[in-house]
Symmetry: C2
Subunit: 280 residues, 2 copies
């Protein structure tokens, strides 16, 4: 499983790279980006994962996320995977919220998705292994995770299922409970079938209610986000955290929408929050 | 000449807008972006113009320029125009470096370009008038200008021709002397004809040699920029400034290329440099 360099550019004194590898898990080439801040030879740097939302590739946050200066200031590596397998042999759907670009960080079990759409295993197992092998400076003992929208859902559920792997987890406008919104119901029924029992692994609120725990959560949510009421529903996460005694900091940001302008505005704040926890 | 709001989004506590108007100068709709930092009612903020390079619209720097936080920190409005007229009735060329997306900040005199390709007048006269009328907080007595590549050429030549309008001028990897490189020779001969006499207005080095003056210049240039030797030639600007006694700070940035990773890396430094001069 070798890795190919698509591009590398100097940025903020570090290196912004885009890489491709043949994924054994998805059975496709997968592209992702990694920003490595400047560091001394032999230094080990913590890793912040960023999972993107519907329609995105690695490129959206790499272009618009405004994370590099904060990563340099705090010595954090930033990894941005793609949101699904892609390519001609990969099944797709005309809708923006299903199929390619909409992997929902699940391991699909339904045909025709099950063969390639295995983003849970890809993010939980294969890509961290590749990063550990290919980036000698990546300290895999110090990882944190964040994400936006569908990727916020991904970050929350992956962290809740793997609490020992991550020092901290945050999200930007996450889909708080995919089993309770149109985006999630469509994706989970499509990838996993109609039996909601199989959906439990992929809903942060359900996981918390069934005993999964992280110590604390940071979530930013714009109050001018058009998806807030029908799709995102942070109040469900708030209720689940309250019942479970999870320390959720939910910041409702006045006037902010669902775009990368919102993400970019609070990216530094999230990186600082993670960096503090990655130092502990 | 009314202005239409294409989009407005909260960003870094301010407003990132994209606007469109029917330009009398180009005879086309023209789109541009403006970032207005948070400010008190009635406050007047200085304006930094950013002129983009070949193939770009307002969107490239708006997405990738990483200017907003620095503009908030220094209270500076950031205006990003398009690089040419566009649309179905507008002449174009298959090449990336001529026609739409490649206006070169000239007023064309050759057919079929002369009717619409009037970016000199658009940036020097029409758009500042529109900004002054539509943005009450814009202090047009305090303007500075910068740009990248073709837009660096634009910033340098516009400032040299209008030294009283701008408090300061800088550039990222500018085309230092369009009369002495393939990009410039193609564009200037295409838009202005073969007589090089008409090109004089559009070459920073020629303008300086013929007496145009600014007090000082800041230029960043990556040494891994593939266009450095054939197209950009900062050494020509250096020589012209030396002869003229213009205080040029030319920073050769090791390892940086021609991309927005380079621009973003040094954007804050340019905004700080301009802000200091806009305060004087």
């Amino acid at each position: 499983m070798s890795m190919e360099t698509v591009s590398e550019a100097r940025a903020f004194g570090g290196t912004q790279g885009v890489y491709r590898h043949a994924s054994a898990v998805t059975g496709t080439p997968m592209t992702f980006s990694v920003f490595v801040p400047p560091h001394e030879d032999g230094a080990k740097l913590p890793v912040l994962w960023y999972l993107s939302g519907l329609t995105c590739t690695h490129a959206n946050v790499t272009d618009k996320g405004e994370y590099r200066r904060a990563c340099v200031d705090h010595g954090v590596i930033f990894v941005a995977p793609d949101t699904s397998p892609r390519g001609e042999g990969v099944p797709d759907d005309d809708a923006y919220d299903f199929g390619q670009g909409a992997g929902f960080y699940v391991d699909a079990t339904e045909a025709p998705w099950a063969e390639h759409f295995r983003m849970k295993s890809y993010i939980e197992e294969e890509l961290p292994g590749l990063i550990a092998r290919e980036f000698a400076c990546a300290d895999m003992q110090r990882q944190s995770i964040t994400g936006h929208s569908m990727g916020g859902h991904g970050a929350l559920t992956i962290a809740l299922r793997n609490p020992d792997r991550f020092k901290s987890v945050s999200a930007f406008a996450p889909i708080a409970s995919p089993t309770n919104c149109p985006w999630g119901e469509k994706a989970l029924s499509g990838y996993l079938g109609a039996d909601r029992e199989a959906w439990r692994l992929y809903d942060a609120c359900t996981l918390i209610r069934e005993g999964a725990r992280v110590k604390e959560l940071l979530v930013d949510q714009g109050d001018a986000d058009v998806f807030l009421k029908e799709q995102l529903k942070p109040e469900l996460l708030e209720a689940a955290c309250r019942e479970a005694g999870i320390d959720l900091t939910l910041r409702i940001q006045p006037g902010y929408d669902h775009s990368y302008y919102f993400i970019g505005s609070f990216m530094r704040s999230h990186i600082e929050w993670h960096a503090e926890r990655l130092r502990r």
